[in-house]
Symmetry: C2
Subunit: 615 residues, 2 copies
């Protein structure tokens, strides 16, 4: 009798593999396109395929493993799954990291630093001059540089006497808001860190605060995914008992410390040179990062604890930067329009736009802002995790092997172009790897194409319509985009009726959000001069597909601009310029926030938007 | 053969006991006047005589001990000393605590609080009003109470949503410097803590910030004594390796947390209601408490790291008070004139004295200030630990059994009164216990009396002069004040030639310090209208004795005022009044500090002051 089939789930990628009981975790990972490193080819000798078993039953550690590992890690190549198993793949074990959009179009920002370094030579104590080290430093800085400094932070004080004497009283003082926060050897420039915490992805930038240059950047998965893919699940997790919120914060901070160390290693700098960080994220990520309770975000009226910007000592959050480093968190607008959206508005200058512009940051929640002259209207809609590949039959995140583009072989990439009912679909995968599933942009394209060729009806049902790749009937109807074996596909990759419905729900929510804002502002859709699409999914999506299925308003293609991770760009701006921080506060202050829950305009518009536009 | 004699030292009292090998620690403690608790009379059943063996060899734990104890504690009644042993006696094991002066004459202080509680009722979120909890609270406080609050501290934020909802949006907001630092149920008054950290003793006061009332007070030993009796030994200890400074800080903070808990228990309050603390201490104690390096205080020119006052989050120091509580440390003047002296000047109003006044705080270091009109001159002199009972043959700290007063039987307490060469000395002990040694005031009296009756010569040598109680010759001469067995004395208690010399060094340093300040100010001794004597030793000493041996200037007795622990009083004032904090800063700022090391005036004055005045 053949062993039964079990499911192996790889976190944080979220990829699932069906395999025979006894399959090694490495084999299962390979089968589903998880790019697990295995330098020795799976012989248990290199130790690169370290994973952690989160749930389920696996084989006992082999002697090779016992020798190589500690801390509960296992070698994926040696470990057999004996039941349904959930496995955590740490970043260092992944050969091809998850694609995360970390680049953005950035407006030039004038550096108006919150942090400055001043070189200063002190006279040593002696004779009648017996001032304390701290007074000596402040007095001399004030005299030589015309400053008005009154205080050296406790952390800087702790190293001050040694540093002054080691450096023969000639040092570089790092000054922040009238305080000396660090005293360094002459010749080092202070570093900053910009952090954008998404529910799924984390973008981190290491920035030279003197030149404004981004020295290194990193896009990784938010490790809190292990506690729930979406915000609501994580909020529920924090309410289990007293320690659980701290657990989520700790997971994030530990990961941030690891990423920071990696970035610093890349450019051979010391993370203790990082004297300032700026943090953005949606309101829930913001609250979790700062250790604020999130349970009020889980129930109407979704009141946040804090919307104002704030400065927190990095060490209070557990971040291992310079001992006196501060974290500046940009302001939130509401429970579901967070600091990341403020950063995006800052980066795209939306608050200073002439005319009418729309900005969307599409994710599990989609934040939408409409700028009309100098007025701003914002809302958030629950667009669900379909665009992250979740709740989609063959969905996956944007990792190697994910189908990210689908088009009609004879028609090119624009689904709005004419089509031949017999046309074959073509596709491309991330890194041209063997296809293993659809990421968000791939499923969006597929739905648009299937609508184009008449397989998807206006109401979302599937009809064979003469297409040989349609299988099943009724709610079980599906379209086979890739057949097992094709370009190495491990199995059929299909779009199901249920997948179409997931996309319908998502796109309707987004479109209805846009329509409510237009009504709130009292303007017509046609006057929108510019539609800014931000975020990772927003960067890779095919605007034509999104327009074709009615997710975006039917405006000319040239009015759409994809700006990449503008939230990260905004965080960097706020890192380099106190004026930008002030602007961010002004943005958060002046926005007219529209809560869609309970808004009487929303439901009819949503219902209407569920229908696919005519072909 | 009788077992050999060994020495058992009881910390932090510093009492030594000579005993036969195999003696129990409890027996040794009793013999030397350490008031170890032993509710069961030493049968090993009550567990009250818990001690910790720091050094040396002792018997193995008995079954009774194994049952009763953990954490390395031993029962003194069950533990036999098998070699020289050093033992730590925790505060809770002491029945009669060390006498520490915690009361002081306090000037009335107008309460000008740094912390205020405001009752406020908020409207809950809903409808169009979706403000964050923090904004809602600040807005309402500002509206209802005319405040200008912009921020809720992170620690207060953490509890804010729950507290607001639990209390139905009607709460008491604790406000400090424009920040909400706690949100409490309506009806509780905020508490404050005043802490005076001496090298030897610690005074802690629990104060109602609303009424200004001292609810409870405590005088205990500084646990850092285990790391060295004086400041220099502790500084040396911190330089051993990186962790040792932290160790000293941790010992202090753990003790402070324990004391605070005890004070709160006494008045049935919660230490999380303590929202502010004020800390004073000599510069080294101040630096150690704040985690600042002290090694520069160990070498000339004794530059402190910090003299300005500072505010530190209590949790950063490890103090377990309200989560957002701050510690305000008063300013230091110099490496050896610390915040405790500033507090004393504040409490005695010396900086606002009309005319000329002198203030002394006598300890291992004696801080001296001279006020001339509104000018202040200060210095510090190394008076040594003789007045703490150290380096004195039968010296001990001011614990039960310590001889604290010595006088001539027929002449009363004033050694300046006439005397009969055949007079017998009389004495009294603390708590009338059997005499076991001399504390500072006792040895001071004894020296003055022996000088009076002609046993002590002007140069400090001892001469029998017909006194039957003088034993030995030359440097080994000593005077037997108490004979073994007298009133239960365990052995002869004597004053040696070497003891006289220790007192000479101490009193000469103090007197020379006073003389240098007079010269610095350009005034004569006679114009001093008031001599303020502060500190525990200063409270108990006999002014007549101190004058007789030349430690104090020969001014009329009525010009001397003993004010008790004025440093603690000053700390309490600063706790209750921000105006007093500003005054403390002004005092520290305006003082003319005179460094005696290297001052050419000092050595000749010191040499002169070594000689005892004519009888």
């Amino acid at each position: 009798m053949a062993p039964p089939e079990i499911t192996i789930t790889f976190e944080p990628l979220g990829r699932r593999s069906r395999a025979r009981r006894g399959t090694t975790l490495l084999a299962a990972a390979r089968q589903t396109g998880v790019g697990l490193r295995a330098v020795c080819g799976g012989s248990g000798t290199c130790g690169t395929c370290r994973v952690r078993v989160l749930e389920g039953s696996v084989s006992s550690p082999t002697p090779a493993e016992q020798e190589a590992l500690s801390d509960g890690f296992r070698l994926a190549c040696q470990t057999q799954a004996l039941s349904d198993v959930r496995v955590d793949v740490p970043p260092r074990s992944v050969s091809a990291p998850q694609r995360a959009q970390i680049e953005s179009r950035e407006a030039a920002v004038e550096i108006e630093p919150t942090i400055q370094a001043f070189e200063v030579a002190l006279s040593p104590p002696g004779g009648d001059d017996l001032r304390a080290d701290a007074s000596r430093l402040c007095d001399t800085l004030n005299q030589h540089h015309g400053l008005n400094i009154e205080r050296v932070t406790p952390e800087a004080l702790r190293h001050l006497p040694m540093r002054l004497r080691d450096e023969s009283w000639h040092v570089s003082a790092i000054v922040r808001q009238g305080e000396v926060i660090a005293v360094n050897p002459v010749g080092t420039t202070p570093l900053g860190l910009a952090v954008d915490i998404g529910t799924t992805k984390l973008a981190v930038y290491l920035v030279d605060l003197d030149s404004g240059e981004t020295l290194a950047a990193s896009g990784t998965m938010n490790p809190q995914i292990a506690y729930g893919e979406d915000v609501m699940t994580r909020i529920a997790y924090t309410m289990r008992d007293e320690g659980t919120a701290t657990e989520l914060q700790a997971a994030l901070i530990a990961h941030l410390n690891e990423v920071t160390q990696t970035l610093c290693d890349e450019v051979e700098r010391d993370r203790r040179e990082i004297v300032e960080a700026v943090l953005v994220g949606n309101t829930c990520m913001h609250h979790l990062a700062l250790g604020l309770p999130v349970h009020t975000l889980g129930v109407a009226p979704y009141a946040p604890v804090l919307t104002d910007n704030c400065d927190r000592p990095a060490r209070d959050l557990g971040l291992e930067l310079a001992p006196s480093a501060y974290v500046h968190a940009l302001p939130n607008i509401a429970g579901f329009v967070g600091a990341d959206h403020v950063a995006m508005l800052l980066a795209t200058d939306l608050h200073q736009t002439q005319g009418v512009a729309l900005a969307l940051d599409i994710g599990t929640n989609t934040e939408i802002s409409l700028a009309v002259g100098n007025r701003l209207y914002s809302c958030s809609c629950a667009s669900g995790p379909a665009f992250e590949g979740a709740h989609i039959h063959d969905g996956m995140r944007a990792a190697p092997g994910a189908i990210e583009r689908v088009w009609l072989e004879d028609m090119g990439h624009d689904p709005a172009a004419g089509s031949n009912p017999g046309s074959k679909l073509d596709y491309e995968t991330i890194e041209d790897a063997a296809p293993v599933g659809f990421c968000g942009s791939g499923i969006l394209d597929a739905v648009a194409v299937l609508r184009r060729i008449g397989v998807v009806q206006a109401n979302g049902t599937l009809r064979a319509n003469g297409h040989p790749r349609v299988r099943g009937t009724g709610r079980a109807t599906k379209y086979v985009v890739v057949s097992e074996g094709e370009r190495g596909a491990p199995r059929d990759l299909v779009v199901t009726r249920s997948d179409i419905n997931e996309i319908q729900l998502a796109k309707a929510a987004i479109r209805a959000g846009v329509e409510v804002l237009l009504k709130e502002a009292g303007i017509d859709m046609e006057v929108i001069e510019k539609v800014i699409i931000a975020g990772a999914f927003g960067t890779y999506l095919n605007v034509a597909s999104a327009r074709a299925i009615g997710m975006f308003p039917p405006l000319p293609r040239e009015r759409f601009i994809q700006v990449g991770n503008a939230a990260g760009g905004g965080a960097k701006m706020a890192l380099l310029s106190h004026r930008k921080r002030e602007q961010a506060a002004e943005i958060a202050e002046c926005v007219t926030y529209v809560e869609l829950t309970g808004d009487q305009r929303f439901v009819p518009l949503y219902t209407e938007a569920l229908i696919f536009p005519a072909i």
